[in-house]
C-alpha cells in the first residue's frame, strides 16, 4: 500500500501542476498581449481618459494610426488604410476591426472566466487530492505502525514459543532424568535387596542348621495310631518307576485336557462352518443372478468359474467335513467375494434410494415415499372396507338363503321366466328387422341392375350424339371463327348435368358410376365433368341410404371418385385452353 501511494502521489501532483501551468500560461498570454497592445487590458474608468490621451494625441495621430494598422495587420486584420489611396483611413474596415476586436475582447473575457472557473475547479480538485494524499499518508503511517506492532508481537510470541520449547525440552530431559533415577534406584534397590536376601538366606541356613541339627525332641508327631490311607492302599516307594509313571500320568492329564479342548473347538468349528454355509446359501439366493454374473465377468473371468465350483461344492456337503486348509481357504474366499458383491449391491441400492429421495423434490413422476405409503394406506383401507362390505353381503345372502329357501327359489324362477319372455320378444323384433333389411337390400340390387342397363342405353345414345356434334363442329370451324365453342360446351354439359342429376337422384349407386370414369377418363372432357358433378351429388345424397346397408367400402370409393373428378376438371380446363386459340 505504502509503496503504491508513494508512487501515485507524485503522478497526481505532476498532473495537476501541468494543468496548472497550462492554465496559468493561458491566463497570462492574453494579459501580455493586452499589455503589448493596450498596456493595460481593463483600466478603470477614471484612468481611461488619461490613458487614451497618453497614447494618441493630436500630434501623433498618424503614427498611432500607422502603429495600429501595423499591429492589426500583424494580428491578421485587414489594413485600416484604403489600399488605393495611401494614407486614408478605411473607416469601414476600422469599424470592422474594432467590432472584431470587441468581439475578440468579449470572447477573451468569456474564455478568461471559463479559465478562472476551471482554475477554481482545479484548485478544489487539487485540494481534494491533497487531502486524499494527506489521508493516505496518514494511513500509510498507521499501517507502518501496525506492521511494526505486529512484528513486535510476532517476535514476542516467537520468543515465547522458543521459551516453551526450551521448557518442554527441559521437562523432557527432566522426565528422562527422573526415569533414569527411578531405574537406577530400582537397580540399586534390587541390588540391596539381593544382598539382604543373601544375608537373610545365610541366616536362614544358619537357623536351619541350628534348629534342625540339634536333636530337637520337641519336633515330633504324637499320634495314637496311624490311620489308613484314604484310598486304602499303602504308600508306594519312591523309585524311578514311580517317577516315570508320574510323568506318564502328567502327560495323560495334559493330553486329556488338550483333547477336550480340541473336541470343543471341533464342535465350535462345525457350528461356525454350518453358519457360514448357511450364510453363503442365503447370500447366493439373495443376490440377483442376472447382476451377479456380469459383475463377476467384469472383475475377472476366473471368479465365475470359482462360483460355479462353489455351487458344485455346496452339493457335496461332506466336503466341509474336511477341515484342511484348502477347503477353508476356498470357503472363506468365496464368502468374502459374495459378501463384497452383496455389499456393492446394497450400496447401489442405497445410492438409488438416496438419489430417489433427492430427486423426489424435482421430478414429478417419482412418487415420494410418503405419498406412496399414504396411497398404500388408503388402498389398504379401501380393501378393508370392500372386504367388510363383501362379508356383510355374504352374510345377508346367507341369511336370505337360510331364512326362506323356497320363497327365494320361487322368486328366482319368476324372474327367470319374465326375462326369458322379454328376450324372446326382443328376438322376434330382431328377426323382423333382419327380414326388412334383406328385402331392402334385394330391391336395391335390383334397382342397381336396372340402372346399369338404362345407363348403358343412355351411353350409347350419348356417344351417337357426340359423334354427330363433333362432326358438325369440325365442319363449322372453317366457316366462322367467332363461334364460342366453350359456351356451347358448357351449355351442353349443363343440359347433360341436369339430365344425369335427375337420374342419379333417383337410384344410381356410385359404384356403378365409377366404372366408366376409370375406363375412359380422357375420352371426352364433357363426360368427365358431368361425371364429377354426378358423383358429387351422389356423395351428398347417398350416405343416408347406405347407413342401413352398413357398407363402408363404398363410402371410401365415393371419396375416391371425388378425387378422380377433381382430376377430370383439370383435364377439362386443359382442353378449354387448347381450344381457345
Amino acid at each position: 500500500m505504502g509503496d503504491w501511494k508513494t508512487i501515485t502521489v507524485p503522478v497526481l501532483s505532476s498532473d495537476s501542476k501541468n494543468i496548472f501551468q497550462y492554465t496559468s500560461e493561458r491566463k497570462r498570454s492574453p494579459t501580455t498581449m493586452n499589455s503589448q497592445v493596450l498596456r493595460l487590458p481593463l483600466p478603470s474608468s477614471k484612468n481611461m481618459h488619461s490613458f487614451f490621451s497618453a497614447f494618441c494625441t493630436e500630434e501623433n495621430i498618424e503614427q498611432s494610426i500607422a502603429y495600429i494598422d501595423r499591429e492589426l495587420t500583424t494580428l491578421g486584420f485587414p489594413s485600416i488604410y484604403v489600399e488605393s489611396k495611401g494614407k486614408e483611413l478605411n473607416l469601414i474596415s476600422v469599424i470592422n476591426c474594432i467590432n472584431e476586436l470587441l468581439a475578440l475582447q468579449h470572447k477573451n473575457l468569456r474564455a478568461q472566466e471559463e479559465v478562472e472557473m476551471q482554475h477554481l475547479k482545479l484548485g478544489s480538485d487539487m485540494d481534494h487530492l491533497q487531502n486524499c494524499y494527506a489521508k493516505l499518508k496518514e494511513q500509510l503511517e498507521l499501517s507502518k505502525r501496525e506492521i511494526v506492532g505486529l512484528q513486535e508481537r510476532d517476535r514476542q510470541l516467537q520468543s515465547k514459543n522458543r521459551n516453551l520449547h526450551q521448557l518442554l525440552k527441559n521437562e523432557k530431559d527432566e522426565v528422562q532424568k527422573l526415569q533414569n533415577i527411578i531405574s537406577s534406584r530400582a537397580t540399586q534397590y534390587n541390588h540391596d535387596m539381593k544382598r539382604k536376601e543373601r544375608e537373610y538366606n545365610k541366616l536362614k541356613d544358619r537357623l536351619r542348621q541350628l534348629v534342625m541339627n540339634k536333636k530337637d525332641k520337641k519336633i515330633a508327631m504324637e499320634v495314637l495310631n496311624y490311620v489308613g490311607r484314604a484310598d486304602g492302599k499303602r504308600g508306594a516307594w519312591r523309585t524311578d518307576k514311580t517317577e516315570a509313571r508320574n510323568e506318564e500320568e502328567m502327560y495323560k492329564v495334559l493330553l486329556s485336557d488338550y483333547e477336550q479342548r480340541q473336541k470343543q473347538l471341533l464342535v465350535e468349528n462345525a457350528e461356525l462352518k454350518k453358519v457360514l454355509q448357511q450364510m453363503k446359501k442365503e447370500i447366493i439366493s439373495l443376490l440377483p443372478p442376472q447382476k451377479q454374473k456380469p459383475k463377476e465377468r467384469s472383475e475377472d473371468g476366473l471368479v465365475l468359474s470359482d462360483l460355479e465350483e462353489d455351487i458344485g461344492e455346496l452339493n457335496k456337503e461332506n466336503m466341509w467335513e474336511l477341515s484342511c486348509e484348502t477347503v477353508r481357504e476356498q470357503l472363506t474366499n468365496s464368502i468374502r467375494k459374495q459378501w463384497r458383491m452383496l455389499k456393492n449391491h446394497v450400496e447401489k441400492l442405497d445410492n438409488q434410494v438416496s438419489r430417489g429421495h433427492s430427486g423426489a423434490w424435482n421430478e414429478k413422476d417419482v412418487i415420494s415415499r410418503e405419498d406412496h405409503e399414504l396411497e398404500t394406506e388408503k388402498l389398504e383401507l379401501e380393501i378393508q372396507q370392500c372386504k367388510e362390505m363383501i362379508k356383510t353381503q355374504q352374510q345377508l345372502l346367507q341369511q336370505q338363503l337360510t331364512c326362506d329357501d323356497e320363497t327365494t327359489l320361487l322368486l328366482q324362477d319368476c324372474y327367470l321366466l319374465e326375462e326369458r319372455e322379454r328376450l324372446q320378444e326382443e328376438w322376434r323384433l330382431f328377426q323382423e328387422q333382419k327380414k326388412n333389411f334383406e328385402k331392402e337390400r334385394r330391391s336395391f340390387t335390383e334397382a342397381a341392375i336396372r340402372l346399369g342397363l338404362e345407363r348403358k342405353a343412355f351411353e350409347e345414345d350419348r356417344g351417337m350424339w357426340l359423334k354427330q356434334q363433333f362432326l358438325s363442329m369440325t365442319a363449322d370451324c372453317k366457316h366462322s371463327e367467332n363461334v364460342t365453342t366453350p359456351s356451347a360446351f358448357l351449355r351442353s354439359s349443363d343440359q347433360d348435368n341436369w339430365l344425369v342429376k335427375s337420374t342419379s337422384q333417383q337410384r344410381k349407386p356410385p359404384s356403378v358410376l365409377n366404372g366408366p370414369v376409370s375406363a375412359e377418363p380422357c375420352q371426352t372432357s364433357q363426360y368427365i365433368t358431368h361425371n364429377s358433378i354426378e358423383s358429387k351429388i351422389a356423395g351428398d345424397s347417398m350416405p343416408n341410404l347406405w347407413v342401413e346397408s352398413d357398407d363402408k367400402e363404398e363410402t371410401g370409393e365415393c371419396t375416391k371418385s371425388w378425387e378422380d373428378s377433381g382430376a377430370g376438371t383439370l383435364l377439362c380446363r386443359n382442353l378449354h385452353m387448347e381450344q381457345l386459340p
Binding site: K218, V227, N246
Partner: protein, 449 residues
C-alpha cells in the same frame, strides 16, 4: 429365610465340612462340631491353646487345629473321638498349616519360611520342602488333588516346584521370570498355573503343568500392579484385578486380554442397574403400638432396617481418595470372584468400599452395582447357582441374584456384626460369622428363582 440361634465363636473359625454334614466352630481352646441339620453338638474337643486356624480334611474325617503361637497342630478324628494326634514344630515355629488333598498329610510351614514339613498320618515318614517362598499364595493344589505347586526362592531367584501329591515326588522345577513372585494359582482344570509378580510390577505368567511357559501378560509398566487374581470355574477366563481400578480378563486360547472392566465412581450407563441400600427408619405407626409393647416390636423399634432401592443413573458412588504416601494404598480391585456358572463376576474396588460390581461375562458388560451403606466385608457366590451373598459388618445379610436383590435382617437382640460368611456346599444354607458369634442362615429353595 430362617436363622439359627447365635453360637459363640472366636477367631472367625466356623467351617462347614466338605461333605456338608458338620459344622466346626471354635471357641477359644475348644472345638465344637455340630450337625448341620439339627445343629446339635456332635463332638467336643479341647486343644492345648487358643485355636488360630482350623481345616477339615477333604474326606471330612479329620479336623486340624493350628496353634501358631505354640507351634503345634492338633488333629481330631470325627469317627474316633479318642483318637488324637499332635504335631509339634518345636523351636522352628509355625506360621501356616494345611491339609494335603488326600487328607492324610499335613503341611506345616515353619517360621521364616525355612521349610515346609509334610507329616503323614499313615506312616512315620516326614518330608521336607526347602526354600519355600514367603508369599501370599505359596502352596497351591490342583482341584483334583493330584498336584501341588510350591513357590520357592533360592539364590534371589523365584522358582516353582510341582509335586505329585500321592508320593510327594518332584515332578517339575523351573525358574520364573519374576522379580518377586507374589502368588500362584492353578486353573480349575489343573493344567495351567498362573503366577504373578508383586505389586511393583504388573506381570502374569502362565505355565503349563509340564513347566512350559504358555504366555505372559503385562498391562503397564510403572504404576502398582496386580492386586487380585481369579480363575473362572471353567478355566476359560483369568480375571486380574489391579491397582489402576481395573479388571482385565484373559482368555484361555490366546491368553490375550478380552476386555477391561473399569470401576469409575460415577455410573452413567443406562443399562446398569444400581441398587442402593437405604435405611428404613422404624415406622411410627402409632395405632399399632400397644402397651406394654411386645418384645418383637420393641426390638424392631430400636433396630433400623434397610432395603434396596433402584437409583436413577447417573449415580455417583462414595469414593475415598487413597492416601498417597502410605504403603498398600486402599485403591484398586482387591476382591473378585466368578459365579459357579461362569456367567457373572463380582468385584470390589477398594477405593469405593461400599459397592460391589457384578459383571455379566456373557456380554462383558456391567450388569449391577450394589451400593451399601457400610463397607463391604466379604462376598461369596452360591456354589450351586448365580447368587451372591455379601456382608457389610452389620447385622444384615444381602443377597443378589439376576432376579433381584434383598436385604435381610438377622433377628435377635444384641450386636451381631457379620464380617464373614461362607456357603454350605449345597447352597441351601450359609454360616454368618461375626467376631464373637455365628449363626446359620437357611434359605428356602422356593425363595430363589
Amino acid at each position: 429365610m430362617n436363622f439359627s440361634e447365635l453360637f459363640e465363636l472366636s477367631g472367625l473359625l466356623g467351617r462347614f465340612s466338605p461333605d456338608g454334614k458338620c459344622l466346626a466352630l471354635c471357641v477359644q481352646h475348644s472345638l465344637v462340631v455340630r450337625d448341620v441339620s439339627s445343629l446339635q453338638v456332635r463332638q467336643l474337643y479341647t486343644c492345648l491353646d487358643k485355636i488360630q486356624y482350623i481345616e477339615w480334611s477333604s474326606d471330612s474325617l479329620f479336623i486340624l487345629c493350628a496353634m501358631y503361637k505354640r507351634g503345634i497342630v492338633q488333629v481330631w478324628s470325627l469317627e474316633q473321638p479318642d483318637w488324637h494326634c499332635k504335631i509339634d514344630e518345636g523351636s522352628a515355629g509355625l506360621v501356616a498349616s494345611c491339609w494335603s488333598p488326600d487328607g492324610r498329610h499335613i503341611l506345616n510351614t515353619t517360621e521364616f519360611h525355612l521349610r515346609i514339613t509334610v507329616w503323614s498320618l499313615c506312616t512315620k515318614s516326614v518330608s521336607y520342602i526347602k526354600y519355600p517362598k514367603a508369599c501370599q499364595q505359596g502352596v497351591v493344589f490342583t482341584k483334583d488333588g493330584r498336584y501341588m505347586a510350591v513357590a520357592e526362592r533360592r539364590d534371589c531367584k523365584d522358582f516353582i516346584s510341582i509335586f505329585v501329591c500321592s508320593n510327594w515326588q518332584l515332578l517339575r522345577h523351573f525358574d520364573t521370570e519374576t522379580q518377586d513372585l507374589f502368588g500362584i494359582e492353578w486353573a480349575p482344570n489343573g493344567c495351567v498355573l498362573a503366577a504373578w509378580d508383586s505389586c511393583l510390577e504388573y506381570k502374569v505368567l502362565l505355565y503349563s503343568l509340564d513347566g512350559r511357559l504358555l504366555s505372559s501378560y503385562r498391562a503397564y509398566e510403572w504404576p502398582l500392579g496386580i492386586k487380585s487374581v481369579a480363575w473362572s470355574p471353567s478355566s476359560q477366563f483369568l480375571a486380574i484385578g489391579s491397582f489402576d481400578e481395573k479388571v482385565r480378563i484373559l482368555n484361555h486360547v490366546t491368553w490375550k486380554k478380552i476386555t477391561e472392566f473399569e470401576h469409575p465412581a460415577t455410573i452413567a450407563s443406562k443399562k446398569t442397574i444400581v441398587y442402593k441400600e437405604v435405611e428404613k427408619s422404624p415406622s411410627v405407626e402409632t395405632e399399632r403400638l400397644s402397651f406394654p409393647p411386645t418384645k418383637a416390636l420393641a426390638s424392631s423399634l430400636f433396630s433400623t432396617q434397610s432395603k434396596y432401592e433402584i437409583s436413577q443413573v447417573p449415580v455417583s458412588l462414595q469414593y475415598i481418595k487413597p492416601v498417597a504416601d502410605r504403603a498398600n494404598p486402599k485403591v484398586g480391585v482387591g476382591m473378585l470372584a466368578f459365579s459357579a456358572d461362569n456367567c457373572f463376576l463380582a468385584t470390589k474396588n477398594d477405593s469405593i468400599p461400599n459397592a460391589v460390581w457384578v459383571w455379566d461375562i456373557r456380554r462383558l458388560k456391567l450388569l449391577v452395582v450394589l451400593e451399601q451403606l457400610c463397607p463391604i466385608q466379604g462376598f461369596q457366590w452360591d456354589p450351586r447357582q448365580p447368587r451372591l451373598a455379601l456382608c457389610t459388618g452389620t447385622s444384615r445379610v444381602f443377597l443378589w441374584s439376576p432376579a433381584g436383590c434383598v436385604a435381610v435382617q438377622v433377628p435377635g437382640e444384641g450386636d451381631f456384626q457379620i464380617v464373614s460368611l461362607s456357603w454350605h456346599s449345597s447352597g441351601d444354607s450359609m454360616v454368618l460369622l461375626s467376631k464373637d458369634n455365628c449363626c446359620v442362615c437357611y434359605l428356602e429353595r422356593e425363595e430363589v428363582k
